[in-house]
Every structure is written in structure tokens, then in C-alpha cells.
Amino acid sequence: MQIGLISLLDGLVYGMLLFMLASGLTLILSMMGVLNFAHASIYMLGAYFAYQISRWVGFWPALVLAPVLCGLIGAAIEVWGLRRVHHNGHIAELLFTFGLVFIIGRAVQMVWGMLPMPYRVPAGLDFPLFTLYGENFPAYRGFMLLVSAGMLCATWLLLKKTRIGLIIQASLTHPGMVSALGHNVPRVFTIVFAGGSLLAGLAGVIAGNYLTTESGMADAMGPIVFVVVIFGGLGSLAGCFIASILMGMVQTFSVVIDYSFADLLKPLGITLTANDLLGEILTIPVSRIGPLVPYALLILILLFRPRGLLGTRET
């Protein structure tokens, strides 16, 4: 019970972090069809910018400035890069963002060096919020939850209650028609890309001091974010939310399960040892294969429900 409740909270925090990253990517992928490989790199940039700004001015200005910078960078990428490449097809756009990954990765190493940055949780938030079964729940994690929830609300409000939000929603599912109706769809694209990058940057600001800020962080987060986006489905933020929480929970709970498939067979009197490949696969405990589970889930959902959980369009 103790482990269950704590894991629930931890899974929620991790899931919300994934959601911050994935929501931007979902918007971009749903609307523009662009598999933005550079999304995780912008997340990394957000963390580094936040570190640098917090060294000069402080954490709270960094919380505002760094995401804005990332948004501007996203807008620049869209206007001067993707727009030129758009007419060459989706693979071209994908490769464009792919090339960006290399450049941003190396540029970060060149500017800040290869060591992890000492980007710390601000002193004002560095205390335990409450204690659950003798374990402290840090205030910063509560702050992370707060920011991600706030961001979720803000995005939802923007999309549902404002005019530009309506246009974005329409462009998510029927970009051609929206354009025919006279709206400036390219400008909407730019806004969405910039917005997505802003969200990624914000995720970087929040997570950079909770996890470590180093040049490998983009490669570490990238694949799982893609899984979340596809699993949740294109064109649906709600689906993305559910998928993020689900993946967060799966990863958190799988750690606490020390049983393996072979343990299921033990009551039947069958004992397996890890002497050959099949034995190895069956005796490995779930806690060790935790990271594999999201990819397995991804494959499964793509096989049986390719539009994802709540997707509104076929991928």
C-alpha cells in the first residue's frame, strides 16, 4: 500500500513532465505532419538557457525568459527552415529536423562544454512539502506538478476559448479547408511550432534542475516522448495527456515489480533457469525490462488501433 501510493504520486509527476514535452510535439505533428526530431533538443536548450539566465538574474526570470527564447528559436526554424522545405515532402522535413539535432547537440557542447551544468533547484523551493510514510515529498516536485497543470489549463483555454485557438483546432484536422476559407495557415503553422517549442523549453526549465542538465539529455528523452505522442493519437491533447500519465505510471510501477514471467509458472511446478535465450527472456524480472514496456505498448497500439487512443485522424 505504501509503495503503491508513493509510486502513484511519483508516476504522476513523471507523467506530467512527459506531458509537457509531448503536448508541444503532438500539436506540431498533428497540424503540420512534421516529425520534429529536434523537439527534445529544444527541451535541452531550454534547460541550458534557464541555467545561464538563472546564473545572471535568477530562477524566476529564467522561468519566463527561457521558454520565450525557445519559442523564438522555434519560430525561426519554422519560418526560415521548414517553410522552405515543406514543399519537398515529409521525409525532407524529418531530415531537416534531424540535421538540427546534430547541430544543436554539438553547439551546446561547444558553448557550455561537456560537463553537466550545476543547475540547481532554487533555494525557495528546496524543502520537503509533506511526508508520506516517512518519505519526503519535495516541494519542487509539487511545483513541477503545479506548472504542468497550469500549462495544461492555459493550453486548453487557449485552444477552446480564443479565436486563434479555434483556427488551430480546425487546422489540426482540416488544414486544407481552413486555408480555403481564407485563414493564414502558414502563420498558424508558425505560431503552433513556436508554441510547441515554448512548451518544450518550459519543460526543460522545470526538469533541468530536477534531472541533470547535460549534453546527453536530448537523446535520453527523445524516444519516450515520441511513444507518448503516437500512443495518445494525433490531433488530441486529451489523448496525449492520458498517454503521458499512463507511460509515467507504467515506468514507475514496473520498477517495483520484481517478479518475472517464470515466477508465474512456479506455482505450476515448472522451474526455469536462465541457461539459454528463452530461459533468459522468461526469468528476467519486470523491473529490469521496465523501459521496454512503452515500446511494446506502442507497437501493440499501432497494430490494433493506429489512430492512437483518442486520435482524430489516421496517421
Binding site: 505504501q2 509503495i3 508513493i6 509510486s7 511519483d10 508516476g11 509527476v13 513523471y14 554539438r106 557542447q109 561537456m114 560537463l115 553537466p116 551544468m117 550545476p118 540547481r120 520537503p128 511526508t131 516517512g134 518519505e135 519526503n136 515529498f137 519535495p138 519542487y140 516536485r141 530536477y210 534531472l211 541533470t212 547535460e214 549534453s215 546527453g216 537523446d219 535520453a220 528523452m221 515506468q251 514507475t252 510501477f253 520498477v255 517495483v256 523491473s287 529490469r288 521496465g290 523501459p291
Partner: protein, 413 residues
């Protein structure tokens, strides 16, 4: 139109490659091919090692080098992939370099041992020696040992001895966490072996493997560790796998010792910071406060010179010994011929920078040296990576206790 740019680029690249690929027999230096990751996610390790080696080579060259010639490093980037390391080895042998050196990645080290042995067998007129400056898996000087391979750092089992012997008597329960690959599995095996041998009173509460560099959120692990009630978290993790684990533990207020194998490696101190005060311990060949504790002015000067131009800790003491031994061996052999130098190196004894005697054992080409177990604390003269905290020795395990039996059956030429 811009196709021409691309074509020109390609031609230029290949032309420049061809030009620069000619072996430059500039000065008459003793060249060592140095293969490590210098780009990509693991560039940090190669970068740090390179800086330490530049410092050491300058130090050795100032003392005259060997046979009146200075040492020079020729670097190759292997991106931590064995296949790339093997391609780099081809360059090394092309240029007739007498030595190849590599520090990062036991899988690369293992691949190189194989490749060097095969090359030396197939090309007896151009043999080279392999200097291992940081690949720790015990197997490399046991099952996989080779006459051409010399390891100038302590193996995993040597560190395990130091680690287990230095655990305080008050610790009765440990929780093992390791990375799920060759190195981490090696640590887990040796940790359990020596716990059974030296500290049978300790219970291993759990034995966990985590996938390498994949976990971002260690909170669930901390929950399990807390529920187990273990007094010490014994881990061979390094990099983000270590930093995030400890951060998560400290954040949740877990009252536990962090007894690590690699907590002293570059980047860890910065990531852990003040949170590690008094809790984090590690086993290492040297730290910058040892000369202060042992009243060794010359060694203290050495570290001060390093600190003047670098902002991370110098942890490559055995590499200094490596070059001191290499100089003596080359002088003794009168050349850089692989067999002669190898025979001279075997069995050599050398006083290291701290005055302790280090021995290159003949049976398996493993360097035998003492280990220090130290705690990360404020109460020291020299701090690490400008965090305000540094290492303070708690225990020293002498060379004699670090001398372990080997299963090596070496094929000699």
C-alpha cells in the same frame, strides 16, 4: 547549382583527408595512439582523460622522456563503439605506432584486446602494445588476458575489495544497484563475492539492475530502497545513473549511506553538490587531499599546478605511474619494440607519486596498487569542481591486500 557546393565539399573533404592522413614524421617523438570517445554522448569521459594525459605527458617530457625522445599522443575518436575503435586501430597500425591506449568502455577494451592479439599474430613485424588506462572489467586480465595488454588501473575486483573492506562495522544491510551491462554485472558479481568473504555479517537486502543510461526518474527505486530498510546503498553506477539516483534519494529525505565505486568521476560532484555532504563515499586511486593527509609536498605541488588550469579533479594517479614505468621499460629495452618493452614492463616495481610501491604483475599484466576510500565532505583543504566539498580519506587498503589471485593463462610469444 548548389549541387556543386556539395560536390566541392566532398572533394575537398576527401582531398584534405588524404593530405592529412599521411603519417607526419615531424619531430622524432614516441607516438602513442589514443582511442577514446571524443564526440557524441560519451565525449565527456574522453575529453577529461585527454586533458589529464596532456598534463602527464608534459610532466614526463619535462623530465626528459625516454631514450632522449619525447612522448606524443595521436588521438582517434571511437564514439564508444567497438567497430569504430577497430577502424581507428587500423590507422594506428598503418602509422606504425608502437603503442595504443584506451580508457573508456570495457566493451571497447575487450574488442581491442582481441584485435591487437590477432594483429600481432598476423603481422609479427609490426607489433604493438595495448595500454589500458581505464577499462575496468575484471575479465580483461583474467579470462581475456593477453601478453600484449597491460592494465594500468585497478580492476573491478580490486576496487570491490577496497569497497567491502572499508564499510564500517555498523553497516549490517546493503542494497545493491548496478547498471545492466558488462561492467555493472562485473561489479555485482565481485561485490557479492567479497561480501560473502569478508563481511558475512552483512545482509544483501536486494540486488537490482537498471538499464544503462535510460532511467530519468529514480523516485520509485528510492521508495523500494526505503521500504527495504537498508543502511547502505552500494552502487557501481556512474554518470546520470549515479547523479540522479543520489539526487532522488536526498530529495526524499532518505537516511542512507551512498557507498559508490565511481562517485569520484568527473561530473558527479557538480551534480550531487552539497546534498552529498557526509553521505557519499567512493573508492579511488587518489584524491587531491591525500598529499595533505600524508604530508607529501611534491605531490601537493603537482595537484596545485593541475588545479591552476583545470576545474575538475585529477584522478589519474596510476596513469602517471604508467608513463614512469613506460619510460623505464623503453630505456631498458633500448627501443620501442613490443616484445622487448613488454618483457621489461612485466614484474616492474615503481614508486608512485605518493611514494607507494606499485607493481606490474607478470602473470596477468595487472597493475597492483593501494586504494583509498574517502568521504565527500566540507572539512577539507581542496574541494572538487568548485563545489566547496572535497574528499577526505577514511580508509586505505594497501597493495598487499589488493593483490588477488588471477585465472589468467597467458599465451606468450
Amino acid at each position: 547549382m548548389t549541387s556543386l557546393i556539395r560536390r566541392a565539399f566532398a572533394v575537398a573533404v576527401i582531398a584534405i583527408t588524404a593530405l592529412c592522413a599521411q603519417p607526419s614524421l615531424a619531430a622524432d617523438t614516441i607516438k602513442i595512439g589514443y582511442i577514446d570517445p571524443f564526440s557524441g554522448a560519451f565525449a565527456q569521459g574522453g575529453d577529461a582523460s585527454l586533458k589529464m594525459f596532456q598534463f602527464i605527458i608534459d610532466y614526463i617530457n619535462d623530465k626528459g622522456g625516454a631514450l632522449g625522445r619525447k612522448f606524443e599522443l595521436v588521438t582517434f575518436d571511437d564514439k564508444l563503439q567497438p567497430a569504430e575503435a577497430l577502424i581507428a586501430l587500423k590507422s594506428v597500425t598503418d602509422q606504425n605506432l608502437p603503442f595504443v591506449m584506451s580508457c573508456v568502455g570495457s566493451n571497447v577494451g575487450s574488442a581491442l584486446i582481441d584485435a591487437v592479439t590477432k594483429y600481432n599474430t598476423r603481422n609479427p613485424d609490426n607489433r604493438l602494445l595495448q595500454l589500458n588506462c581505464g577499462q575496468l572489467a575484471t575479465e580483461l586480465t583474467n579470462e581475456q588476458c593477453s601478453f600484449w595488454h597491460f592494465r594500468f588501473v585497478g580492476s573491478v575486483e580490486m576496487r570491490a575489495v577496497a569497497r567491502i573492506k572499508s564499510l564500517p562495522q555498523s553497516v549490517k544491510s546493503v542494497y545493491l544497484v548496478n547498471q545492466d551491462y558488462l561492467f555493472g554485472q562485473s561489479i555485482e558479481k565481485d561485490t557479492k563475492r567479497f561480501l560473502a568473504q569478508y563481511r558475512p555479517d552483512i545482509t544483501i537486502v536486494a540486488d537490482e539492475f537498471i538499464p544503462l543510461m535510460q532511467i530519468k526518474d529514480f523516485a520509485p527505486y528510492i521508495t523500494k530502497i526505503k521500504a527495504s530498510g537498508a543502511q547502505s546503498l552500494l552502487t557501481g553506477n556512474y554518470g546520470p545513473d549515479l547523479n540522479l539516483l543520489i539526487k532522488a534519494g536526498v530529495d526524499s529525505g532518505l537516511n542512507i549511506r551512498y557507498d559508490t565505486y565511481l562517485g569520484h568521476v568527473i561530473g558527479a560532484a557538480t551534480a550531487i553538490g552539497a546534498a552529498g555532504d557526509g553521505r557519499l563515499t567512493s573508492v579511488m586511486e587518489d584524491h587531491e587531499n591525500v598529499p595533505v593527509e600524508e604530508h607529501n609536498a611534491e605531490a601537493e605541488e603537482f595537484f596545485k599546478r593541475w588545479r591552476a588550469t583545470h576545474d575538475f579533479a585529477f584522478i589519474a594517479l596510476p596513469s602517471v605511474t604508467q608513463f614512469q614505468m613506460l619510460v623505464r621499460a623503453i630505456n631498458q629495452a633500448g627501443s620501442t619494440d613490443a616484445v622487448k618493452v613488454a618483457l621489461a614492463l612485466e614484474g616492474m616495481e615503481q614508486k608512485d607519486l605518493f611514494g607507494a610501491t606499485e607493481i606490474m604483475r607478470k602473470e596477468d599484466h595487472q597493475l597492483l596498487l593501494p586504494y583509498y576510500e574517502a568521504v565527500f565532505t566540507k572539512d577539507v583543504k581542496y574541494d572538487v569542481e568548485k563545489t566547496g566539498l572535497g574528499w577526505k580519506t577514511e580508509a586505505k587498503v594497501p597493495t598487499a591486500e589488493e593483490t588477488l589471485p588471477t585465472t589468467c593463462k597467458m599465451k606468450r610469444p
